[in-house]
């Protein structure tokens, strides 16, 4: 199998949520190799880990993010794709550890204080990981101090705040103020059902997107290394 062909296989498996040979999803690929096997094969064939990440995993998750944004696929399909991506990522972890491949940056994410919803946050995490970001997930009901502690531990990270309620959305303001008060250059992204671009500007956050792929696109523009 040619290098490009195997990379496309990885991207395809991630796009359609084919984790590995044992996975019954999707039914039309039952019994076939999945993202895990193809990633191992790619590395065994000498394809650089960076190329596997960029042209396999990221390509696949990019398609997933766009299809999700365009309502062509829905949460269950994204979750299966994320599992397929994780299966590939396991084979790449040693290369991250050795420094042979590097993440595009660190992204600290959490659902703000008072809010216990996590599905949206988890979807954003999955799609960011699939696009090469290292995600530090602080979970739900996260206070400003916890975000600041995480920033101290991971300086230069982008911070993502999620909220589902208008009441907890208000807590984003305080968190953004504290983060910016600590370091005004920290890039803060916000999202969640009640959040708008207007609110983003009002509280001094840097990025708002109604969907995960929009966030990836914003980050690509802002942190593009050319």
């Amino acid at each position: 199998m040619e290098h490009n062909e195997i990379l496309e296989k990885i991207a395809y498996c991630i796009e359609f949520g084919k984790i590995d040979r044992n996975s019954p999803f999707p039914p039309n690929m039952k019994g076939q190799d999945g993202a895990g096997e193809y990633t191992r094969q790619a590395l065994e064939k000498g394809i650089k880990a960076r190329d596997v990440l960029n042209h396999g995993l990221m390509q696949g998750m990019d398609r997933v993010g766009r299809k999700f944004r365009d309502n062509k696929i829905f949460v269950p399909q994204v979750l299966m794709s994320a599992k397929a991506m994780n299966s590939s990522m396991e084979h790449l972890m040693p290369y991250f550890t050795s420094g042979e491949i590097r993440s595009r940056g660190k992204f600290i994410i959490g659902t703000v204080m008072g809010d216990l919803h996590d599905i949206g946050k988890n979807l954003v995490s999955m799609i960011l990981k699939g696009n090469g970001w290292e995600v530090i997930d602080l979970g739900i009901d996260v206070g400003s101090d916890k975000f600041l502690e995480a920033l101290e531990e991971h300086p230069g990270s982008v911070v993502g705040l999620s909220a589902l309620l208008t009441t907890t959305m208000a807590n984003m303001k305080e968190t953004v103020e504290k983060i910016k008060g600590n370091n005004r250059d920290t890039c803060v992204a916000i999202g969640g059902a009640p959040v708008t671009q207007e609110f983003c500007e009002k509280i001094g956050a840097d990025i708002y997107s109604p969907d995960p792929q929009g966030l990836v696109d914003h980050l690509d523009q802002r942190f593009s290394t050319g």
Binding site: F25, P26, P27, N71, I73, F74, V75, P76, Q77, L79, M80, A82, K83, M113, G114, D115, L116, H117, D118, I119, N122, L165, T166, T167, T168, N171, A193
Partner: protein, 228 residues
Amino acid sequence: MTRTFSYSFRELSVTRGDLEECIGGGSSLEIFSDRLEGVLKSAQDICNIRGGYRVLNEIDLDQETRLISAGGQKFSPGRIIFDQVKDSDGLLVFVCTAGEAISNLSRELTGNGDTLTAYLYDVTGSVCVEKAMDKLERELFEDMRSGSVGLTRRFSPGYCGWDVAEQQKLFSLLPEGFCGISLSASSLMKPIKSVSGIMGFGPGVVRKDRPCSICDQRDCLYYKKVSK
């Protein structure tokens, strides 16, 4: 006067189609049909569906300010909801939950990495509590109709422009921990799979269509249903 009710999961006739409608995606979810069926089957033993309501017979609806006074509280539900309940003589304040266990299971599954099943349980909890309220609403509607009394649709804080923070006022009208449901300072109900809201009733009440066409809340589950 307060009343409580409970339903079995079976009584609500939650179907795979209900879950698919909530998730979106229609036929593209066919590949998950076994998993959906499995979740529906086990949800029967997990959901603890119960709720209750308080009937407030003395209310005041100020047509100018669009404020609803009931039980010592003043609600400001916004123009859309006020127009739906403005002919009411009384108000029914309700809560309903699918129970704690389904959310706990969903959280546990997420922790174990089975995010798909976790999500399907989460959706099942949401659908279940909405169907319970559909059933209660239907029953109350029929009961009242036999006495020539009309009942409005149900409306909840957080929908149709009604500030979710007004949930604090709503809960203040119910006994503490009513039906096992509590409210956080940020107006989040616990168990998470719970709903609360109001319905108006009275001889002059005419049940109107859902006001989705004049509401701009496009991510609302009712809007999604209507727009299909």
